[in-house]
């Protein structure tokens, strides 16, 4: 249709169309400018809300309001939980708080009571000590208990509860009871029974810890959980290596009758080939005060080593 014909039926011509488009673009740009200015002036939103992450705090209320969209809302709260955990973990603010983490996980699991990952990895996030997590082992156990109440056949929740007691609380008796409880649920793997027995008799050991972290690593697609598991496995490898190096330090002491000040001293005696480095790539540190005389550098990714296993690296000097 020609421009004349367009005008005849009241349609805008090319020129009017271009003017309208420019006006739309200008108004949008102005609106974005105002929004940007508002965000700079009121970064917290200016509403006075202390928790911008939560619209609802009651899981029951959320379930009601969601109607038939409960699983999708659960996903949204799960994503928010991950974002809250990630943002807070990366924050350099010494006063940072993971205050919304449990409520978000509680909401996600109330909206979708079978949300396995929210229980399992939520518990890991909650148990992680400050500053990498809130260090709320009680909330981690509460979440896993909630999962077991919703799905009693899910032996993984009982295993995870045992894991929380095992790793974070070093309460091996309770951990062993949880592993036993998990092993008694139909479909649980056979090794849980032996893990219950081992934990009960020996308490914490690196082999059991390695199995637990490996299991967590293999079953998780969450990068935070994988990174955490990778670090813990590297720490366990580092502790094994410290054991080996402690033996060499002991050999050096038998020969030289003194503590080696540097790795060079051990190399001079042919005990090592090169300066040993931890799985994070940082050289190990010779420290006469450390058990076995060897530890990781304070700058190492592995620092601090899990206290419950450090003593096994060698006798205190």
């Amino acid at each position: 249709m020609s421009a004349h014909a367009d005008a005849a039926v009241g349609r805008p011509g090319a020129r009017q169309g271009a003017v309208a488009l420019t006006a739309v673009a200008l108004m949008l740009a102005a609106a974005l400018g105002l929004q940007s200015r508002r965000e700079q002036r009121f970064p917290a939103g200016g509403t006075g809300s202390t928790s911008p992450l939560l619209y609802l705090t009651s899981g029951d209320a959320a379930s009601r309001v969601a109607l038939s969209l409960r699983p999708l809302m659960a996903d949204i709260y799960w994503i928010r939980a991950i974002q809250h955990y990630g943002d807070t973990r990366l924050s350099k603010d010494p006063g940072k708080q993971y205050s919304a983490l449990y409520p978000l996980l509680d909401l996600a699991t109330s909206l979708d009571p079978h949300f396995t990952i929210a229980y399992r990895f939520g518990a890991i996030f909650l148990a992680e000590p400050f500053p990498d997590g809130p260090g709320r082992v009680d909330q981690a156990i509460a979440l896993l208990n909630k999962g077991l109440a919703a799905d009693p056949a899910r032996w993984q929740y009982a295993q995870d509860a045992g894991f929380v007691y095992y790793w974070w609380l070093q309460d091996y008796k309770t951990a062993s009871e949880w592993f036993r409880r998990a092993s008694e649920i139909a479909g649980a793997p056979w090794w849980l029974r032996s893990m219950a027995a081992t934990t009960s008799v020996q308490g914490g050991d690196r082999k059991t810890s390695r199995i637990l972290w490996m299991q967590l690593f293999d079953t998780s697609d969450d990068e935070w959980v994988k990174t955490s598991a990778r670090l813990k496995l590297a720490q366990l490898d580092g502790l094994d290596e410290i054991d080996r190096l402690a033996t060499l330090v002991q050999q050096y002491e038998q020969i030289a009758h003194r503590f080696p000040g540097t790795w060079e001293a051990l190399r001079a005696l042919g005990l090592i080939g090169a300066v040993p480095t931890d799985p994070g790539g940082e050289p190990y540190v010779l420290d006469a005060r450390a058990p076995g005389g060897v530890t990781v550098a304070r700058t190492s990714k592995l620092y601090p080593l899990p206290a419950q296993f450090v003593r096994k690296a060698g006798p205190p000097r």
């Binding site: 038939s68 996903d75 994503i79």
Partner: protein, 270 residues
């Protein structure tokens, strides 16, 4: 008679296509494709679950809007444009007119839902193929390409038929705005309906409890149609449950349709 009904149904279907209702499918496809990319960045390995949740939820919501907004205008539009006079002077019964309108919209919804289900399966197939590790993790609960999702789609469809019948029922005697408000209202009430069944536990008055129980049977009970969470988590949804729930939905829709036919038959257009 069947030919007349199918002719009206065909015209409703054609009209909805002409009204660009099927554009929502393009929106749905874009939503699914966009979401499949975005959730990968956000959700820490829950991509498959979230795509299933989103696909089922969006199918329900898109279907709900079509059912309500087209449903409330089906009869009203004909009356408003006065085209109903031309129709009703033909050898066409008023009940046939209502049945044809309902079937036409039911077909539109079926076509929509079928395409949306296909889009969900397609996105899941692509995700499963492009991210095998993710698919392995997700398969602990349910297969990535899970035929059981069809159970959820089937019940969503029956629920949409109930909503369509409600919308059509209201449209026989009220304006589109009011009909839409009432239909949405009943949709919400339908999800809280189960609370009315046990009202005697919270009230002392036997009369109030009796009224509540009466409303429980009268109002649509829509919550049982929601098996989305169960199928996504690989929990069993027995065939008997589907048959009983779908049967209830179809009978309820039929009852509403009969009521709509009755009201429309008695309506005076002079």
């Amino acid at each position: 008679m069947m030919r007349t009904i199918s002719l009206i149904a065909y015209h409703v279907f054609k009209e909805s296509v002409r009204d660009k209702v099927l554009y929502n499918l393009v929106l749905f496809a874009l939503l699914m494709i966009g979401a499949s990319y975005l959730v990968g960045q956000l959700t820490a390995g829950q991509d498959i679950k979230i795509i299933k949740d989103l696909g089922l939820a969006a199918s329900g919501v898109f279907g709900l809007f079509i059912a309500v907004f087209i449903g409330v205008g089906l009869v009203w539009k004909e009356v408003d444009k006065r085209s109903v006079y031309n129709l009703l002077v033909k050898p066409l019964g008023r009940p046939q007119f209502i049945a044809g309108k309902f079937i036409g919209l039911a077909l539109t919804l079926l076509a929509n839902l079928a395409v949306m289900a296909a889009a969900v399966y397609l996105v899941l197939a692509v995700m499963g193929w492009s991210q095998p590790a993710l698919a392995r993790g997700a398969q602990v609960e349910a297969p990535v390409i899970d035929p059981n999702l069809l159970k959820a789609f089937a019940l969503i469809y029956v629920q949409l038929l109930v909503v369509t019948a409600i919308a059509l029922f209201f449209s026989t005697f009220s304006s589109p705005m009011l009909s839409a408000a009432l239909t949405f209202g009943l949709y919400v009430v339908g999800h809280f309906n189960a609370d009315l069944a046990h009202f005697e536990n919270v009230v002392k008055s036997p009369l109030a409890a009796g009224v509540a129980r009466g409303l429980y049977y009268l109002l649509p009970n829509l919550a049982p149609f929601d098996v989305k969470a169960a199928v996504v988590h690989g929990l069993p949804v027995p065939a008997e449950y589907i048959i009983l729930t779908a049967g209830y939905g179809l009978l309820y829709a039929a009852a509403l349709l009969a009521a709509a036919m009755l009201i429309f038959s008695r309506r005076d257009f002079k």
